[in-house]
Subunit: 136 residues, 6 copies
């Protein structure tokens, strides 16, 4: 068993906002992250898969194929988008890094399995000072 | 003469949008950067000042004082904001990295001079793959 | 279960020195790290916590609160200090990265639990070429 | 139990090439990575060991000794070399990052044990966008 | 006048080898960089252009167009190639970082001018410890 | 004319302290940087030289020779040292980044000239948020 990680990037806008709360409650809890007109980030996404090395290629999986999956299911849907408004798979969810990491896992888990390996970790970096890891 | 650089950071939303153009023209020219619901970035700002070393402190300028100026005039007005909607000094300007760097220069030039040194360069990094430098 | 990491930084002086040994022994074992007049580092501290996502915030824990804990218990006591001389929680301990990581764990474990999540890992980077991880 | 990681670097040429396949098959599977005249990378190697902290040094292991092992067994054999042609321990193996990480593990496992700690992970970074981890 | 920089990357093999010298002379001068079977690097290329900001776009130049020029003239010809053997514009030149930076300048200078701005600097990073800058 | 930069690193302790001032004055001006028992940094030093490319090597200067000069004149005298107490060429000078950059320039200027090129810039990074550049 060996682990392979691919980094992809996307730039998106969001705000932390609970639709069940008043403006005051949102600002009290989320502070500047609840700025009504949004703010944004350069997100870095690290997808780690695990599997056996295939002897004829030396690969767990072809990185190009893994990259296609991540781009089709995640990057194209998030890059230069508003996470709260434009992203079907985040509809109705609070746009936190935690929720986004879990949603990204769900977007790619089956398609990674179709490549003959297993999704191990989704790591999502929001700033140089914070990131989230989800292992399913 | 010696040069001193201070890095500060802010996370903001924007879109590239010329208010004199139709939606189609904006999308044709700016592509995904014209997403109507915004996108965003982790901006890194590098402010370089120049001056003589003061013999009693070994400083060109006290970094804490330079940081206060940059934070008061730039970071507090941009961090967790929408550059197109929330930032008085960007009002009526296209929210490109180039225009933002020039506007930041104008925000701090005089206050840097009040600290006893001279503003030399404003460098603004939008992604790991592009940045702008303005020397006045 | 999801994992969240916060990075904080501090700059400190130290030397590797066993008080039970002679100068010669210290220099033989620790080499240049035993320079009598100290040396120092820009330490990077990565604190990882784990927990369930709270549905009303999308958070494991509020990063601002986690940052307050790390700053009060660790950063304020280490930043711009001498690890061997100035830091009560390192008193009597060899100022190695390993010992420092364990001591930082002990400083914050209970206060992290009070925030409603669980401390998972303390990672401490001393240079770009070495770091230590402690999982309790 | 605590974990210590040492980073080392080497610059090497390679190509992905299965000797049992025709040129066409190699190019179909490996694409530009099968360029006949080679290409190359700045590899970063992160070796993580685990063990108990020795009370008289505060160390799991002396980093200088760990670095000697990695340099003698790995870096000197790979740095400024062709992985396919010049490296005895890669003879007959496809020069993928996965195979290289496993081979590096085998090169150092026993010598790390001789230092009084246990090899935990070999992480090998090929580009800023991909890396492999092997835990034995 | 404002400056804009675009980063691109390529991975290539090379050796430092003067064809007029014997093997012994090459090895005496270039050391391990003269390994006969090549070695390689992850090169980072920073192309800086200068010009006036166009009021209708806020751009010096469209980064996408600049990126196309760099990719067509430089990256596609160097990425996953052998600099000594595969790159027409390096034919007959020693494959040093200095010579490569000058050759890249010559590859793109006119096409950058066609975009309505002026080439200012080609910066080429070979490892994390060395880079070259050429200003024409 | 082309520019070549070499990065070297050193880890050192220091404090900002004007020997002509009282403790109170030092603490009022330098704040936590005046901690009596020192603090420290991982300094990064970037030395830029300029010159013509020598046709037989493709080099401005042999990086190995430049590295020897920087190590002999700077790194060996600063690494794992106390800048205020242990470094002859900083004797009697305030241990600011500005003063250290100028002193490093003076240490290497002539020896760089002996290598057949010209010293262009000494850049010294103290933390990820501040650095100094000196051009003589």
């Amino acid at each position: 068993m060996i682990y392979l990680t691919r980094r992809e990037r996307f730039n998106a806008a969001h705000k932390l906002w609970n639709l069940d709360w008043s403006d005051e409650e949102n600002k009290a809890v989320f502070g500047k992250c609840a700025n009504e007109n949004w703010h944004g980030h350069n997100y870095q996404l690290f997808v780690t898969v695990k599997g056996e090395i295939k002897p004829e290629t030396g690969y767990i999986v072809d990185l190009k194929e893994l990259s296609v999956v991540i781009n089709e299911e995640v990057v194209e849907k998030l890059d230069h988008k508003n996470i709260n408004l434009d992203v079907p798979f985040m509809k109705g969810k609070l746009a936190s890094t935690e929720n986004l990491a879990v949603a990204i896992w769900n977007q790619i888990e089956n398609r990674v399995a179709d490549l003959g390996c297993q999704l191990h970790c989704v790591k999502l970096t929001e700033t140089e000072n914070n990131y989230v890891e989800f292992y399913g």
